[in-house]
């Protein structure tokens, strides 16, 4: 899905995030924690809708998660969410679950960044 360059890039674009938070690292960290705290519930909800086959709901949830990830400058998660949104109406459940699995792995990386603290992220 992603190129090797993209994979090697930090999962959170620190500069972009801090810029969007108007230069406030505390604000960026607070919002990143909020993202981490709520993302698992979002993924669970998305997984349920995938398993239930509710395609419009999958697309809608994925679209929203894409927006949140873009706001938080987490491009790889946003890209996965965009793919899930696009494929919601066409791809089989197994493929959609695979995309969700990748999102969960990326989410783990985001959590590590959040726990490390943005100030320590180069």
């Amino acid at each position: 899905m992603n190129s090797s360059t993209e994979r090697s890039a930090p999962v959170v674009n620190r500069d972009e995030l801090i810029d969007r938070m108007m230069g406030s690292i505390p604000m960026a960290e607070r919002m990143l924690k909020r993202f981490v705290d709520t993302a698992n519930a979002d993924f669970d909800l998305m997984e349920s809708t995938v398993r239930l086959g509710d395609k419009p709901a999958i697309a809608s949830l994925a679209h929203r998660h894409k927006g949140t990830a873009q706001t938080m400058a987490i491009p790889r998660v946003a890209q996965c969410a965009a793919e899930l949104e696009q494929r919601a109406h066409t791809d089989p459940t197994s493929k959609l679950l695979a995309i969700l699995g990748e999102m969960r792995m990326l989410h783990d990386e985001v959590r590590q960044v959040q726990q490390l603290g943005l100030a320590n992220l180069i």
């Binding site: 969007r20 909020r34 894409k66 927006g67 706001t71 400058a73």
Partner: protein
């Protein structure tokens, strides 16, 4: 970054709390206070309060999406204009067109760039300022007019008549390079100022229930010059405010006559600015069809006949032709915007077959 507090309150509408809070934080850094609504229905309630002049809304939301919210805002209207910016991840042409068609003023792709957002909001503020300017002009004109038209919709009708005449003239070849959209909007905004000079006329004359003496009438006619001089001074101090030039010309020349027998400067023909000639017809029609203490409101046809007779003497013949083409629309405006009879005053009478004014100015009807 501009941290100067802005009086404008912004409503942020997004079902994603993280996106909403991030935007709200950026707005606070730019000096705006904001409120977050997490869905369209809540947003509509906030908008109804009249407190929010700018709405920044996500498009995809449950229950009521941003497009429908925008349509509702436009459908319901409010006391002031609400500037709507749609903020969404869908920035393809079809989505943009759909949003603008619903009444959105601007469209920004997610994720937003803070500096771009600030500039877009400033553009919105400029639009809202124009509306505020219009309201301020009208309020000032109303204030001046209230001394002798305290119950009337005189000014509301005047600007409608002026817009109507200007729209018609704009379709005539000889006026196409003179009258454009800006001209029409300007005359709509500034024509209510035509009598603002009446603030300088003493009450004993302005509110006199009977006929004016020649001396009183002479003082009364000063209102055109008083208003014109005042607006000219402001226009010269603020040359960037082009509409003030028109306001000045209207106040100064709306009592001039095509044959040169008007006041204050005795201008004739095309030496009288077009805007002054337009307001002259609008003002006289409204005076003729309105109640005065010394006369009932004339019926529409009588007013049409009088104006028609004044073609080439009192009024610009072209404008009389335009008026005659539009006379049924004038009648409709008068009918739809009529109100209780205006308070008694001396407007119109001295120029209308009044024995104690000079013959040159008493031959045809005119408001004062």
């Amino acid at each position: 970054m501009n941290k100067q507090a802005s009086p404008i309150q912004i409503l942020v509408v997004d079902d994603d709390p993280i996106a909403a809070e991030t935007l709200s934080h950026a707005l606070s850094q730019f000096g705006y206070s904001s409120t977050i609504a997490l869905n369209g229905m809540d947003a509509l309630q906030y908008v109804r309060s009249g407190k929010y002049r700018i709405v920044i809304s996500d498009v995809e939301m449950p229950e009521m999406n941003g497009i429908d919210l925008c349509r509702e805002i436009r459908r319901r209207g409010s006391c002031g204009y609400t500037y709507v910016i749609l903020l969404t991840g869908r920035s393809d042409t079809a989505s943009v067109v759909k949003g603008l068609d619903a009444g959105a003023d601007d469209y920004i792709a997610k994720p937003f760039s803070p500096s771009e957002m600030q500039m877009r909001i400033r553009a919105g503020e400029r639009i809202l300022m124009l509306e505020s300017r219009d309201l301020m002009i009208f309020a000032l004109a109303k204030l001046a007019d209230s001394r002798d038209h305290d119950t009337g919709s005189h000014l509301d009708r005047i600007r409608e008549y002026c817009r109507l005449l200007s729209l018609e003239l704009a379709t005539w070849p000889e006026y196409q390079n003179k009258i454009d959209g800006i001209y029409i909007q300007s005359i709509y905004e500034t024509s209510p100022l035509h009598d603002i000079g009446k603030v300088g006329i003493p009450d004993r004359i302005l509110l006199k229930p009977g006929r004016l003496t020649e001396a009183e009438f002479s003082i009364m006619t000063q209102h055109a010059k008083i208003g014109g001089d005042t607006l000219q001074a402001v226009a010269e101090a603020h040359p960037e405010a082009v509409f003030l030039q028109m306001a000045y010309e209207i106040a100064m020349t709306h009592h001039e006559r095509w044959d040169g027998a008007g006041y204050p400067n005795g201008l004739a023909g095309e030496d009288i600015p077009l805007c002054g000639r337009i307001v002259a017809i609008a003002d006289v029609y409204d005076a003729l069809t309105s109640h005065r203490v010394y006369k009932p409101a004339y019926n529409h046809q009588k007013a049409v006949d009088i104006i028609s007779e004044g073609s080439g003497t009192h009024f610009d013949p072209n404008l009389v032709r335009a008026f005659l083409k539009l006379e049924s629309d004038f009648k409709e405006i008068k009918k739809s915007m009529n109100d209780t009879p205006e308070k008694e005053d001396s407007e119109f009478m001295p120029m209308f077959r009044c024995k104690d004014v000079p013959a040159a100015t008493a031959q045809t009807p005119q408001s004062v």
